[in-house]
């Protein structure tokens, strides 16, 4: 009888300990999960560990762009926006809106889907000495993933800033060497190669 009570006592004690351990494990799991979510939402500086360089450019310059390249050379800075527009048939077509800036030649060219739509003068007094831009517009294609952008641009280190959903759902802004770009749903929709000058 006493032996039976002892056994029951141990069983209750074991069950209690089991429940306690279970609760602690669940709490720890929630804590770690919440922390992981918070960690991913924090802006970070990331050093790229492994990157495969991209051998083929994802975009081919149009004849209009090649003509301007022949006249002015590669741009000293450029901005490309990728988005979609409604078509007459009711679908969506991709758009590549890009501006090429030539500060030393004081001109800005705008292309939409490779067609030259504007040549605007830039009002700059003195440009000074600009570093050669390490990027070309054809290195970047519409809706590339982060890995593809890293490979295309040969990025070593970048800043990763997840955006608040009030500003943009699933949007992340990145900054790298002479480069800034934005991905929404892990698709490249904005990239800007920035001109740098010697201090």
């Amino acid at each position: 009888m006493t032996e039976g009570k002892k056994k029951t006592g141990w069983a209750v004690f074991g069950l209690g300990c089991g429940c306690l351990v279970f609760v602690v494990l669940v709490a720890l799991g929630i804590y770690l999960y919440a922390g992981w979510v918070g960690y991913q939402e924090d802006p970070m500086i990331v050093e790229v560990q492994e990157s495969r360089s991209q051998l083929v450019d994802p975009y081919t310059l149009s004849s209009a762009q090649q003509e301007q390249l022949f006249t002015y050379g590669y741009p000293e800075a450029f901005t490309i926006l990728f988005y979609e527009e409604e078509t007459v048939g009711g679908g969506a077509a991709p758009v590549r809106l890009e501006t090429w800036d030539y500060y030393t030649q004081t001109i800005e060219l705008t292309f939409i889907n490779g067609n030259l739509v504007a040549e605007d003068p830039l009002e700059i007094d003195e440009v000074g000495s600009l570093d050669p831009l390490p990027y070309y517009p054809e290195q970047f294609g519409a809706f590339m993933s982060l890995e593809e952008v890293i490979a295309a641009a040969g990025i070593d280190t970048y800043v990763d800033i997840p955006l608040e959903k009030e500003f943009m759902e699933e949007g992340v802004m990145y900054f790298a060497n002479a480069l800034t770009f934005g991905l929404k749903d892990n698709e490249l929709i904005y990239i800007e190669a920035l001109a740098l000058s010697e201090e």
Binding site: I30, L32, A34, G35, W36, G38, Y39, E41, P43, M44, I45, V46, E47, E76, L81, Y83, E84, E85, E86, T87, A92, P94, L97, T99, Y103, E108, V117, L122, E123, I124, G128, D156, T157, Y158, V159, I161, L163, E164, E166, F167, M168, G171, M173, F175, A176, N177, A178, L179, T180, F181, K184, D185, I189, Y190, L194, A195, L196, S197, E198, E199
Partner: protein
């Protein structure tokens, strides 16, 4: 050249009218607006712009009392987002105004009105986005579970920063560190420091943004005209225009086919509750009192709110070092009229007083007063009234603000309320 491009933009704006551009753009997931958002944000971060010109009562109120070093990285980032949207809104407004004015000068009233309608809708969207970000910046009035969840996230994230994937470092400052990476290519000090050209010639950066925004909008509108033309829709045709205006006229009684019959006599005291969506971030207690006099078709209202915001600076070993507390008192009183179709319009004077205590020592106080507008709508079965404040009229007329508020309430019943009031 400039007037030519504005003229072209105008034509295109008119052309897209039968198709609502904003709605059309929303059907597409990869939008021009999103790409443009990134462009403006990148500029704000790299130039490290922090929101300073404030029309918001809260920020204007807080600015003399909150010391800037207490801003955390999240707040800093939100401020830069707000600034990015504000710049975008300003550029949009400027280009739109030029186009509309040009049409007015040419006597093209129909075209001007339609262009203005588009401009205002887009402007309002950007304004709403700024409001959402401002609410987010406060963050103190979330419910218990949300606050707890965020608190656990913050605490748990510290562990992951220690044990998480290698080669990821938390950012301490957004603007300066992003700029460092951009100009040196790495976080180390070995790379030669170079100057961002946009920093050297700031006006180039701003003009660049405006031009891209302008050309992008031109493109969107051009596509809209193609789509509209393909659908055989004529632009600014007086007959079609009239039909369209008739169908778009908001009619409360037509929403469900029932006519709204307001009482002719009686005074109603309402019991109000502020809604989560629009709850002001700094206030822990908010009391609304609204009375309607049906005979006079008039209403009066009072809002009283109080709140504390506490900021703690960590000292050695994470122990609290400096504690700042800002106590806020907000009082608002006003009156307005009730229209036959069940809308409420009123002007309210607001007084906000803040007192800043620094470790229990009062260090200063600040008072701000101004007038703002209220709009409201009564439900079809007359059991509840939805109220919202529509803020100061800076660029648009009171009539327009009211019409916009009215439209919001018709389009999204219950979704535009800062307070929901019930008959006591």
């Amino acid at each position: 050249m400039k007037s030519k491009s504005i003229f072209l933009l105008g034509i295109i704006i008119i052309s897209m009218f039968p198709q609502n551009i904003i709605q059309a753009e929303e059907k597409i997931t990869r939008t021009f607006s999103s790409a443009l958002d990134f462009l403006y944000l990148s500029d704000a971060i790299l130039l490290n712009q922090v929101e300073d010109d404030e029309t918001s009562s809260i920020s204007a109120l807080m600015s003399p009392t909150i010391p800037s070093p207490t801003l955390d990285i999240k707040t800093d980032l939100i401020n830069q987002m707000i600034n990015a949207v504000k710049n975008q809104r300003n550029d949009h407004f400027k280009k739109c105004t030029e186009t509309v004015n040009l049409y007015r000068e040419q006597g093209k009233t129909c075209e001007a009105d339609k262009a203005e309608a588009y401009c205002k809708t887009k402007y309002q969207q950007l304004t709403d986005k700024i409001s959402s970000l401002r609410i987010l910046r406060g963050g103190d009035r979330r419910n218990f579970f949300t606050k707890t969840w965020h608190s656990i996230k913050r605490s748990g994230a510290k562990i992951w920063h220690r044990i998480g994937p290698l080669a990821r470092k938390v950012l301490r400052e957004v603007g300066p560190q992003a700029l460092q990476i951009v100009s040196t290519g790495g976080a180390g000090s070995h790379a030669a420091l170079r100057q961002l050209f946009k920093h050297t010639v700031k006006k180039i950066g701003r003009e660049h943004l405006k031009e891209i925004a302008f050309k992008g909008i031109q493109r969107i509108l051009k596509v809209q005209i193609d789509v509209a033309t393909a659908a055989g829709i004529d632009i600014c045709d007086p007959e079609k225009e009239q039909t369209q205006e008739d169908s778009e006229q908001p009619k409360v009684e037509n929403k469900t086919g029932n006519e709204l019959k307001l009482p002719d006599t009686g005074v109603w005291n309402l019991r109000c509750q502020d809604t989560d969506e629009f709850r002001d971030k700094y206030y822990q207690t908010v009391v609304w009192n609204v009375t309607i006099d049906w005979k006079a078709r008039a209403f009066t209202g009072i809002i009283e709110a109080q709140g504390d915001q506490i900021s703690v600076t960590e000292g050695a070993y994470g122990a609290p070092d400096i504690v700042d507390k800002i106590h806020l008192d907000w009082k608002e009183e006003g009156s307005g009229s009730v229209t036959e179709d069940g809308f409420f319009w009123g002007e309210f004077s607001q007084v906000i007083t803040s007192t800043n205590t620094h470790q229990e020592v009062v260090t200063g106080s600040y008072t701000q007063e101004y007038t703002e507008n209220w709009i409201g709508a009564i439900s079809e079965n007359l059991d509840q009234v939805c109220f919202s404040r529509v803020g100061a009229r800076d660029w648009f007329t009171l009539d327009w603000i009211r019409e916009r508020g009215r439209q919001e309430m018709l389009d999204n019943p219950g979704g535009f309320c800062e307070a929901l009031c019930y008959v006591k």
